[in-house]
């Protein structure tokens, strides 16, 4: 068996984790409120979203999707984990929600952010809903 290297999670700039915590919460709020303007200001030009239905959307496609009202209720996020990799970060989160038929659902997301000129932009998201 090959020896595993120690994780090398590089030190972030002061305040990075605080910024990303806020951006993550804003992301969720923007999903719930179909706030396209927020996404327009926070998604990188090459943003890609892996959708819960197995399709892949580019930035324009995602903006179109998010403009429609969210199809689930009581959408909430739990167990958020932010991992720093220099000028990039991965955010893992768990979601809970209620389907239109009243059944409860759960899911996950993995977002990737990159810092460009002191601004964090989201470059990818992968969303699951079970």
């Amino acid at each position: 068996m090959m020896k595993q290297e120690k994780p090398q999670t590089h030190a972030a700039k002061p305040g990075d984790e605080t910024q990303l915590t806020r951006l993550n919460q804003e992301f969720i709020t923007a999903v719930k409120t179909s706030d396209v303007a927020w996404f327009e200001s926070k998604l990188a030009p090459d943003f890609l979203n892996s959708n819960a239905d197995g399709s892949l959307s580019d930035r324009a496609g995602f903006l179109k999707r998010v403009a429609s009202p969210i199809q689930v209720g009581d959408f909430a996020v739990h167990d958020v984990l932010i991992r720093m990799f220099g000028t990039t970060a991965i955010i893992h989160g768990r979601t809970s929600f209620t389907h239109p038929d009243g059944q409860t659902g759960r899911g996950r997301y993995t977002d990737v952010w990159a810092r460009h000129a002191n601004r964090w932009l989201c470059i990818a998201a992968d969303v699951s809903r079970g």
């Binding site: 068996m1 120690k6 197995g54 991965i90 899911g107 993995t110 990737v112 990159a114």
Partner: protein, 127 residues
């Protein structure tokens, strides 16, 4: 296959990541835990459609079980670089035990540590 952020020096990295992606898929179908032990970072996390997230040990345990299908293959693979990370976006298809084709999508994230690319995150949706 598409790649973004392509610098000439990335050519070798892309070839390496393409190989890693092929083996990731092969190892999933054939429950090759040894390959994953070699290529998953210690802080690897895997996110699943049922809302669960498992660490490296949990993933190795899951992957040791039989894959629920055959002829697993990645489709529409895209490799991108962002800072210290490489992102692999891809769809996949596989043949279910009932003979029907199933599909899904994944995002794998690698980082280079001590001259090796190691997978630090995987997110799957299988249908």
């Amino acid at each position: 296959m598409q790649q973004t952020d392509l610098a000439p020096t990335r050519t070798q990295d892309i070839q390496t990541l393409e190989d890693l992606n092929r083996h990731f898929i092969r190892s999933a179908e054939h429950s090759d835990a040894a390959w994953y032990r070699e290529h998953l970072a210690e802080d690897f996390l895997s996110s699943h459609r049922d809302g669960s997230i498992v660490d490296r040990d949990g993933f190795l345990q899951r992957i040791s079980g039989p894959y629920p299908g055959t002829q697993l293959q990645a489709v529409d693979v895209q490799i991108r670089f962002a800072g210290e990370l490489a992102l692999i976006h891809a769809g996949f298809k596989y043949k279910r035990p009932d003979g029907q084709w199933g599909s899904g999508r994944y995002t794998d994230i690698y980082t280079r540590r001590q001259q090796r690319w190691l997978c630090v995150s995987a997110h799957f949706n299988r249908f």
